[in-house]
Structure formats: C-alpha cells, structure tokens
C-alpha cells in the first residue's frame, strides 16, 4: 500500500513530468513550458485533494509506509540518542523502542512505536505492534525519567497492541494498564505526538501526557474503522462510514477537545515532505517543553489528572 488511490491522477501526472524531463534533455522551449504547466496542474490537484480529504483517506495517509517513522524523528531531532533495551524480565520489544537523548540540547527520554520501513525491518519491529515487554520497558523508562527528572517525549504510531497467545499469557492487558499508570505517576512533563496511527489501547498506553498533539493527517481511534465496521455494520466494507462516524481525525478530536493541538503537514502529506514534517513536530515539542518547564512535580501531576478527568465533562449533554 505505498500508493493511495485518491492520489492516482497526481502520481500519473508526476510520472509524466518525470518522463518529459527525461526525454527533453535541453531541447525546445515548448517542452519546458509543458513541464511547468503540468507541474502547476499537479500542484493544483494535490492542493485540491488535500484540501478535502475524507476521514477514510486520512486513515490511508496515516498508514502510509513512507511517512516518517520513529527512526527518522530520532535521526533528525535527537542528538546523542542512546537506545535502551528490554523489560528486564523477558525480552526486548523492537515494536516500541526507547532511550535517552538530547532534544535541542536538553536531555530527555524518548519512547515510540516503530513500524519499520521495509519487509525485513517491518518483521523485526512486528509492524509496530508491541507486546507486553514493550509496555513494561515503557514503564521502566518512565520511572527512570522521573528519577533523573528528564522530560518524556512519546511518538505514537501503531495499529494496536499485538494480539497473540504469548502476549496474552504474559499479561498484555496488565502491561498496558500499568503503562498508563506509569504515565499518570510520572514526575516529569510528558509530551505525546500521534505521528501516524493511534490504534486503541496500544496507543494510549504511552499517550497519557501533559500535551497530546496529532499530525494533521494522523488518526487516533478506539478501534480501527475496519474492525468497527465488521462489528457494527457486520461487514468491513463499511469501513469508510465507520471512519467518519468514529471521529478519528486530528480535526475531529481537536473539535471535541480531546487533543491539545494539530501539527501541520505540508500539502501532499508527511510521506511527500518528511523533513518539513519532522521539523514541524520538533517546533511543537520545543514550544510545549518551554511551556512546561520548569515544573513543580505535584502540580504537574495534578494538572495531568485534571486534564484527563475533564475529557467529556464540558460536552453539551
């Protein structure tokens, strides 16, 4: 799924432009004109398509394989990154890497889902679906962050926690619940960014934060639209309707006051503009950190609780 169906005409046009460029090789002016005309058209189409994305299209974009991943954010935003592995009990979970590093010079703890970027790495990272060990490592890193008073940055990008026999036997539910508890108990600021897919319990396990932001075309949902459709509509073919009904887009969730802000993606999405997107995320984290620093441990935790307790209370009944 590296192509989005609604982008097809744009991709075709972009292909033609590339071809023309290739054949033109310094010939007549009218080809250059033609190219710039087509480029303008492609840009216009892109703008049109991205100006009126449906929730279902956003689901596709949020899952796009070319979107920047945890690894890309670390490379661009974090210096001295020092990965820390393992839950000290059973295993390392490559679906949920984490470690120490410096953000704009400031030492912090970073935790996030990694889906992988090619077949081999996707398998290694279990497609970003963490097992209990991942969530137990998150607990460990959250308490280390408190101990050393380092702010925590989490990057959410998962279809959900892994559904498997071993995961169940080793207490997937308990691991997620305790990860949420660890977030609530953390004595340091936590900033969470939904960068791609925020898939249910496996996502919120590391997103109980003082600030929760979503990238413009990311999604955050209690259940996948396919799953929701197959239960409520009795057929996964209704996933588009489910995507709309679930109100899972950044725009919907901001309107419902369930997130703190939306981070812009350049026209054409994060999968076309990795660097710009990552830079935007960096700016948001920087601003949030400035807002939350310095912190008083007790009022910080109290504010985090109040923030989550307020969810839904201000809705009109």
């Amino acid at each position: 799924m590296s192509q989005l169906d609604f982008e097809k005409p744009i991709l075709e046009l972009e292909g033609k432009i590339a071809e023309l460029r290739h054949v033109s090789g310094g010939s007549e002016v009218n080809i250059a004109d033609e190219i710039s005309r087509m480029q303008a058209k492609a840009a216009r189409l892109l703008e049109q398509a991205y100006g009126k994305l449906t929730p279902a299209q956003k689901v596709q974009i949020a899952r796009h394989q070319e979107r920047p991943h945890f690894k890309d954010y670390i490379e661009k935003l974090i210096d001295d990154f020092t990965p820390l592995a393992g839950d000290r009990a059973f295993a390392e979970d490559y679906a949920l890497p984490g470690g120490l590093g410096r953000f704009k010079g400031y030492p912090c703890v970073i935790i996030g889902h990694e889906k992988g970027h090619d077949t081999e790495s996707r398998i290694k990272h279990n497609f970003g679906m963490a097992r209990p060990e991942g969530y137990r490592k998150a607990q460990r890193l959250l308490s280390m962050a408190s101990h050393f008073q380092l702010p925590v940055i989490t990057l959410v990008d998962t279809a959900g926690a892994y559904p498997g026999r071993g995961a169940e036997e080793r207490g997937q539910s308990e691991a997620i619940a305790k990860s949420i508890e660890s977030c609530l108990r953390a004595d340091v600021p936590i900033i969470s960014i939904i960068v791609g897919e925020g898939g249910s319990g496996g996502a919120i396990a590391i997103a109980v934060a003082d600030r929760v932001y979503m990238l413009e075309h990311s999604i955050y949902s209690v259940i996948s639209p396919e799953g929701c459709a197959s239960i409520l509509w009795r057929s996964a073919t209704h996933a588009e309707e489910a995507a709309t009904a679930l109100k899972l887009t950044a725009q919907d969730l901001k309107a419902l006051d369930l997130i703190d802000g939306i981070i812009d993606e350049p026209v054409g999405g994060a999968h076309r503009h990795k660097d710009q997107t990552i830079a935007n995320v960096g700016k948001t984290i920087e601003a949030a950190l400035a807002e939350l620093t310095p912190w008083d441990t007790n009022s910080l935790k109290q504010a985090r609780r109040s923030k989550f307790l307020a969810y839904g209370r201000n809705f009109q009944a």
């Binding site: 926690a161 929701c228 197959s230 239960i231 839904g312």
Partner: protein
C-alpha cells in the same frame, strides 16, 4: 484489525437467546446440558449444581449476595453527555442506548452501591453485561470516578466487578480515554491507602481489561470467566496461532500469574470480607469479624 471489541457480538449472540422466561421452570446448563430447576438455580447463585458452571448473574443479585445481610444503598450515576458523537451505524447509537435502558431498566452498564462486607465499609461498582455488552463509555468511566470519590470520602474499600467486552466504540475516542480516567480513579483510592479489589467476571476483555481491571491490589476471578485483551477469534484469525482450550479462562490466568485467586461464587462474600478485614482491620483480635462472617446472611432474596 479489530481486537478491542470484536468478540462482543458473538458473545452477545450466544448469550442473549438463553431463556429468561419465568413460566419455563427449567433451564438447561450451557456447559453440561443438565436440567436446572429455576428455584434451585437461583439458590445456587446461578451456578450449575451439576457441574459448577458459573452463569451470569444480575447485578441486583450480585450486590445482594455480596453485601452484609443483602442490604446496600445504590448511588446515583453521574450525568454524562448522551451520544456525544451523534454516532450512527446501521442504527443510531442514541436508539441503541434507549433500547438498552428500556430492556434493562438501568441507565448505564454499571451500578454503584455502598454498604459493608463482613463489616468492612465497601463501595462496589458492578458492570451490567446485558447493557450493551457492559461496554465502557463516558457514563461507565465517570461512574468509576464517582465510586472512587465515594470510597475515599467515606473511607471505604473499592470493589469493581467488570463484565464487559471492552470500550464502547460508539463513543469513539471518548471511550478510549476512559482507560486513563478509570485508572485515575483507582489512583485516588490507592493514595488514600484504601483497598482496591477487582473481581473479574465473565467476560473482562479489551479496553476494560487493559485499564482499571488490571491494576487492583488484589485480583479475584470467578471460575471459567473469560479474561484477556484480544478476543480469541481475533488471535486465531489474524495471527493464526493454536490456542489451548482453556485459553484466557480465569484458571489459565491464575496459572500465568495474572490473578491472585479463582473463587467460586458462593465463597466470594467470605473471601472478599476476609481480605478486606486483613487489609483494613488492624486490631489484633478479629474473632468478632469471624463471628460476623459465620452468622451473616447471604441476602439474595431481599435485594
């Protein structure tokens, strides 16, 4: 990929058709197929007296059997927005909610009550599975917060009894945030050093199991209860793993270190009471509570 609540539908389907018709005096045990006379079954707290299979029990009966002398006070449920997303699938969520309310004569999938268990002050939050599969939305989450506040204010223990397929997806993200919200509730009780006991009943799955249900000081479970994060069918279909027959049962979880005890229903009042006494009653002599325990009536009838 739908491991949160995928299993609710099949379970509801398999459970709802059981006849609750009063003029049919006999019920067939779904496990051993033995015939059960309704009055005997009622007396046995809905546990098959041939094979010990634990069938679901109404919240009213549950509260009646747990609280001393079957007496308790129910607490009003907090007000929450009705159908916050204006959600509609093949049917409007608003209609589903109203139907559930009419069918169960309850406002939400949870009931709050307070009283004493073996003399120890206790607030119970019990899920009603018959109300939309016991699913957790804002109403349920807010009720758990309310229960915790009441426990802290009155110096009571908190006992939560989940019976739920997971999050209520018709409330979208508002249902997902009930996971941290319910854990905040538990944190309040823990900070007050009051006991928080989870009694896991059939089923406890999805977002409910991955939140307040797994952070108890003590985890008790009823025999045979299905407890897990992902539904069995989801695991079989998406990961294609072979699963043992007793996978995700209370007994299986006991073996894997996730619950403290599997307790037959009839022994629950005594077990919970004893634990609460051990955690709350620091006086050296507990012979009094021992007596209370022996003489207490299980008031199923008057509840």
């Amino acid at each position: 990929m739908n491991w949160l609540t995928d299993f609710i539908r099949p379970r509801i389907r398999s459970l709802v058709p059981q006849k609750e018709v009063p003029d049919n005096l006999w019920t067939k045990c779904p496990s051993c197929e033995g015939m059960l006379f309704h009055r005997d079954l009622d007396e046995a707290l809905n546990v098959c007296y041939h094979c010990g299979h634990h069938m679901r029990i109404t919240v009213k009966k549950r509260l009646g059997m747990l609280f001393d002398n079957g007496t308790y006070e129910t607490l009003e449920l907090p007000k929450v927005p009705f159908d916050p997303l204006k959600f509609k699938d093949r049917k409007k969520y608003a209609d589903r909610l109203r139907d559930a309310q009419a069918k169960t004569n309850l406002k939400e999938a949870i009931t709050l009550a307070k009283g004493t268990i073996c003399g120890q002050k206790t607030v119970i939050a019990a899920f009603n599975f018959s109300f939309m599969g016991g699913s957790m939305g804002a109403g349920v989450g807010e009720a758990i917060v309310r229960a915790a506040e009441e426990a802290v204010a009155s110096g009571s223990a908190l006992v939560v009894i989940p019976s739920s397929g997971g999050a209520r997806m018709q409330e979208g993200m508002l249902s997902l945030v009930q996971m941290p919200r319910s854990i905040i509730a538990v944190e309040m009780v823990k900070e007050a050093r009051l006991p928080y006991i989870v009694l896991l009943t059939d089923p406890t799955t999805g977002g409910v199991s991955a939140s307040f249900a797994m952070v108890g000081d003590i985890h008790l479970a009823e025999p045979g209860a299905m407890i897990g994060f992902a539904g069995r069918r989801v695991i079989e279909e998406t990961v294609r793993e072979v699963l043992p027959e007793n996978f995700q049962t209370a007994e299986y979880l006991l073996e894997h270190g996730i619950v403290d005890q599997v307790v037959p229903r009839a022994e629950l009042p005594e077990t919970i009471g004893r634990i609460l006494g051990l955690l709350m009653d620091k006086s050296a002599c507990c012979s009094d509570t021992g007596k209370t325990k022996k003489t207490r009536k299980t008031g199923t009838a008057q509840a």
